[in-house]
């Protein structure tokens, strides 16, 4: 199984790296990380917190761009340019094709986030050298955990984008659906809480709306679970049980998305 996935993964990785978008995203990251020093010089006290905020927001934003502009194109290009026939003519099942692509995208995300995370860590440590008094609660381990969680979140989003690519005929629809999933995934907890305590806030929510919000809550991934930027910024503890629980959630949801993508892709007719 793995021997068949590996060549597709490697080709996908090379294709992704060859894509110039990666350089642009890298430039954004470097720019944002340099900006950290400028912003931090304006903060009276909590410099460490702001440095970590900027570093982690840069990595997650650049990572999101990679998923949206490289990940989706990787599969869409095969379909648009009909190169998929060449792949499927070989002794490879459609399921293996999807899983191989996912592994390749995993390599791209892994490599990109290692670079971005490295730059983020350097930027935070540099700020600590400049303002050593404001880092008393900061720990590197929580920073790394936050970046690792971002990788998981990006992989989950990639798996879903593959599902959308298997479903839709154009890459634009996949892009749109992925963006919507990302948006929903980030706000779903807040919106559910808002609907459930609507009386306290003083807004009227119909029963149908409450049902809809709850349906969306369970159907779409809860990406805010993977967001521990604030904990990393303030050096607050993240219990091991939480890490285990979120990893489990990630595994189940990613598997769900990939299995669904494979099932749909196998039935798909190509023009």
């Amino acid at each position: 199984m793995l021997t068949r996935l590996w060549p597709i993964a490697v080709i996908t990785f090379k294709e992704g790296v060859r894509n110039r978008a990666l350089y642009g995203i890298g430039a954004i990251a470097v720019f944002l990380l340099l900006g950290t020093q400028l912003v931090c010089s304006m903060i009276p006290r909590d410099v460490g917190k702001v440095a970590v905020d900027l570093a982690l927001s840069s990595t997650s934003f650049a990572g999101l761009l990679i998923v949206l502009f490289i990940g989706i194109n990787l599969m869409a290009k095969d379909l648009d340019r009909r190169t998929i026939y060449m792949v499927l003519a070989r002794p490879i099942s459609r399921g293996q094709y999807i899983l191989g692509k996912f592994c390749g995208m995993g390599l791209i995300i892994g490599a990109a986030m290692t670079l971005l995370g490295g730059a983020a860590t350097v930027s935070v440590l540099l700020t600590r050298v400049l303002y050593p008094n404001y880092f008393d609660k900061f720990t590197l381990s929580t920073l790394f955990l936050a970046i690792l969680f971002q990788v998981l979140s990006l992989l989950l989003l990639t798996a879903l984008s593959f599902l959308y690519s298997a479903l839709s005929s154009t890459s634009f629809i996949s892009l749109l659906l992925t963006v919507i999933t990302y948006l929903i995934g980030q706000v779903t907890t807040d919106i559910k809480a808002l609907v459930e305590t609507a009386d306290k806030v003083g807004i009227q929510v119909s029963a149908a709306m409450t049902f809809l919000v709850k349906a969306v809550y369970y159907l779409f991934p809860n990406l805010s679970l993977f967001d521990i930027k604030l904990q990393a910024a303030h050096g607050l503890p993240v219990p091991l049980t939480y890490v285990a629980m979120v990893s489990g959630y990630w595994f189940l949801f990613t598997a769900l998305a990939l299995v669904a993508a494979v099932l749909i892709f196998e039935r798909r007719e190509f023009p």
Binding site: I43, P44, K49, L56, Q186, L230
Partner: protein, 285 residues
Amino acid sequence: MRSRGLLWLLVPLLLLGQGVILTSAVARREQLPGRGETLYALPSPLLKAMVLEYDGIVSDFIFLRTLVFIGGTFERAERPRVRPQEWDWIRDSLIAATDLDPWFSDPYYLANSEMVWDAGRVLDANLLLEKGVHYRTWDWLPPFMAGFNYYYFLHDNAKAAPLLMESARRPGASPVIATLAARLANASDQTNNAITFLEEMYQLASDDMSRNLLHERLTALLDIQALEKAVAMYRERNGVLPERLENLVTAGVLVRIPVEPYGGRYRLESDGRVVSSSDFGKRAE
């Protein structure tokens, strides 16, 4: 080939041109009606949903915007320097920043240094500070500041004492705070308590503005302390209180009556306490 050369020449010209226009366009924009009235702070539940996963960085941004706004008001000629609705916006912004990231310390400190001393919005500031007390469980400053405000501005020792006790329990707190908290239980010796408090605050102040404010206040309190001592000495010598503070000078207890830094005058109360006519929180502006 010649036209290619002209095109290259055009690039710096266009660059320069847009720069020139930009400057005057921005200047015109400043004069558009409604500028300065566009201050708004979004309600927190909406804001939290809108900022997606970027709570921390948006919180930083809101804080910086507030800080820059307050900084900008120091260049204003008009009095009061900050309008009431602007103080409302500052308060709402700091609430929003701390709703997005309740562990962020700077908004709490800004609320304390600006809203208390400058605007006299002690209750607003304390509402924020008590949020800081709740979230920043390792930080002795928020309970200390809130306790100070209750004690000093709101004269509410019952609320100040437990906050100071809480502050004294946290790491890094000066041992003086515990003593102060204990002293607050009996409300006597107000001036000395305030001086101890202010000296502590003065040590903490990081910027020149609050240092100056604190220095002014500390000077006034030290004056009052000296005057009250002189009054006590006068009473010991003569058996009665002086009628007016000037009598202290004529009796040779004091060289001169110090100048009140806020433009008011020191006055002797019938019970021997010395107060300031300007009631120095309420400044002339």
